[in-house]
């Protein structure tokens, strides 16, 4: 069991999200920076799909009530375990009673989220095949809500592997403000001037952004044709442009369908960057084609394979 001593602004139980229920309006949910959640799980020897905590930039304290192995991946929040600094993307051992402490944010410029994986995973009940918290629908995760002080979360069975206990760390990809985007289904309905602005102007992350999506501020993007669209499927990564001309990047908790024109789609390999961007930072969109997007995904897969080889001496097969 782990106990929340200080919950921070938004700490939720997340995994890689639920799928297969979009036709009922059930969102995907899951870690906004899915690669970081995956890496944290794999560092402690968990299946990549187990649940951990998504911790949003703020002071958080968590007590471990059993000796275990844990890892933090994603943003570097200068965490410590009973006063000893913890490096991100390292496997750590702790004794029962030890306290993991994330201090007040040191910099406004730091990325937004870190992911805690614990040996055995957070063992809250599954809802529709996932343990992810859906904050809008108020289900999944721990009581369908963000964690509060005093919450006690059960852990799953520990892995007990020799390999899993060896001290081990890895490098994480560096966050940059450049996000690669495929033109979306309604891209051609925007004026050439609008498209030019979309690719060449910086986009400021608005402070009203949340797990459903990031609202961006910048030049107004005018749409030339098309009229009001009928509602259609949207996915995390889709960039919608409402009539005010200010784009919204949809994230894991996004609605399953929408009606605003889709000017672009963030490639899978870069979606974590959008989700990690702090408010008021400027993002830039770079156009890429499908072949480029596939290459970027292949590079991710390669990096994961190298990690698995060095951590466990073999490749990792999901499921």
């Amino acid at each position: 069991m782990i106990e929340i001593l200080r919950a921070g602004i938004q700490t939720t139980v997340q995994d890689l999200g639920r799928c297969g229920h979009r036709h009922l309006g059930i969102a995907q949910s899951g870690a906004l920076d899915a690669p970081a959640m995956q890496l944290a799980n794999r560092l402690v020897g968990n299946a990549a799909t187990l649940a951990g905590l998504e911790i949003t930039r703020s002071a958080v304290e968590i007590r471990f009530h059993r000796p275990t192995i844990f890892a933090l991946c994603g943003a570097d929040f200068f965490a410590s375990l009973d006063g000893v600094m913890i490096s991100p993307a390292w496997r750590n051992r702790c004794a029962a009673g030890q306290v993991l402490k994330i201090p007040e944010p040191i910099s406004d410029a730091s990325t937004m989220r870190t992911y805690l994986a614990v040996d055995g995973g957070i063992a809250v009940p599954e809802f529709l095949g996932s343990r992810a918290t859906d904050l809008q629908g108020k289900f999944g995760g721990f009581e369908g809500r963000a964690l509060k002080k005093g919450d006690r979360l059960p852990l799953g069975l520990a892995n007990h592997g020799e390999q899993h206990a060896r001290r081990f760390g890895t490098l994480q990809p560096l966050w940059t403000s450049e996000i690669r985007v495929l033109p979306g289904p309604e891209y051609a309905q925007f004026s050439t001037v609008a498209c030019d602005k979309f690719w060449n102007q910086p986009w400021t992350v608005s402070s009203v952004s949340n797990r459903m999506g990031y609202r961006l501020r910048g030049p107004v993007l005018a749409r030339e044709t098309g009229g009001d669209l009928r509602s259609h499927a949207v996915l995390p990564g889709v960039i919608q442009v409402p009539p005010n001309g200010q784009p919204i990047v949809l994230l894991a908790d996004a609605q399953t369908t929408g009606g605003y024109p889709r000017i672009g789609v963030v490639i899978a390999a870069d979606l974590w960057k959008a989700a990690q961007a702090p408010p008021d930072t400027q993002l830039r969109f770079r156009q890429i084609d499908l072949a480029g997007a596939r290459l970027a995904s292949a590079k991710w897969a390669q990096a994961r394979a190298i990690f698995e080889q060095s951590a466990y001496g073999k490749s990792y097969a999901e499921k």
């Binding site: 409402p242 009539p243 009606g259």
Partner: protein, 215 residues
């Protein structure tokens, strides 16, 4: 029926009708969704309003290949009749629950009471579920009531809000952001995660809105 096929991002193959909103087109989309759901290489099949998206696993199928299959399936598809239930939903129109009733009336050149009469006179069909858990997109809105979405979506729309978005109408099951024009509110729960069947409505259901006696 003119259908356009396209890819959205790296793992969604989509199709949409270019013709005016049509119920028989939607019935064919239901039939096609049922067929596509049996494929193991698809993660999700999401019908929309006279459109459909198939979310695929790019490790198992290519997008272009899937589009070709979808074209073949569409050409061979026929309308599927869904078991249909009739459901009456009581709505408090206007007031705090329907802040945009005046705007919809103005846009239509009608009085608020005429909007209420027109909205509650029609029979609506659930074309598909989406957006939020339990949100039903309804077809059958009177042409006079067609109103564009808001220029900027509201950050928080209360649960039970009845809205109009373009030529569609529907009810928000839970509180969350939304861009539709809100004309009323219902107390009916469309989504309850504690129930064995958390979602109340289904594609094919026939809905009537009944104005509640004034509060």
């Amino acid at each position: 029926m003119e259908m356009k096929f396209y890819l959205m991002g790296e793992y969604a193959a989509c199709m949409r009708s270019e013709a005016p909103l049509d119920f028989s087109c939607q019935q064919r989309i239901w039939a096609m969704a049922t067929q596509l759901k049996q494929r193991a290489d698809l993660v999700d099949v999401v019908p929309g309003m006279n459109n459909l998206a198939a979310i695929f696993d790019p490790q198992r199928v290519g997008g272009d290949e899937l589009i070709l299959t979808m074209k073949r399936l569409w050409n061979a598809s026929r309308s599927a009749k869904f078991p249909s239930r009739k459901i009456n939903i009581s709505v408090n129109y206007g007031g705090d629950g329907g802040p945009d009733l005046g705007l919809v009336a103005e846009h239509a050149g009608l009085s608020p009471d005429e909007v209420i009469a027109a909205h509650s006179a029609a029979e609506y069909v659930v074309y598909f579920m989406g957006f939020q858990p339990g949100f039903a997109y309804l077809g059958g809105l009177s042409e006079r009531l067609i109103t564009p979405r808001r220029a900027e979506p509201r950050l928080s729309v209360p649960a039970g809000s009845v809205g109009i978005g373009g030529d569609q109408t529907g009810i928000y099951p839970s509180t969350g952001p939304g861009g539709w024009q809100l004309i009323g509110r219902t107390a009916l729960r469309l989504f309850d995660p504690t129930k064995a069947e958390p979602i109340l409505l289904r594609a094919g259901d026939v809905i009537r809105f009944v104005p509640a006696t004034s509060r």
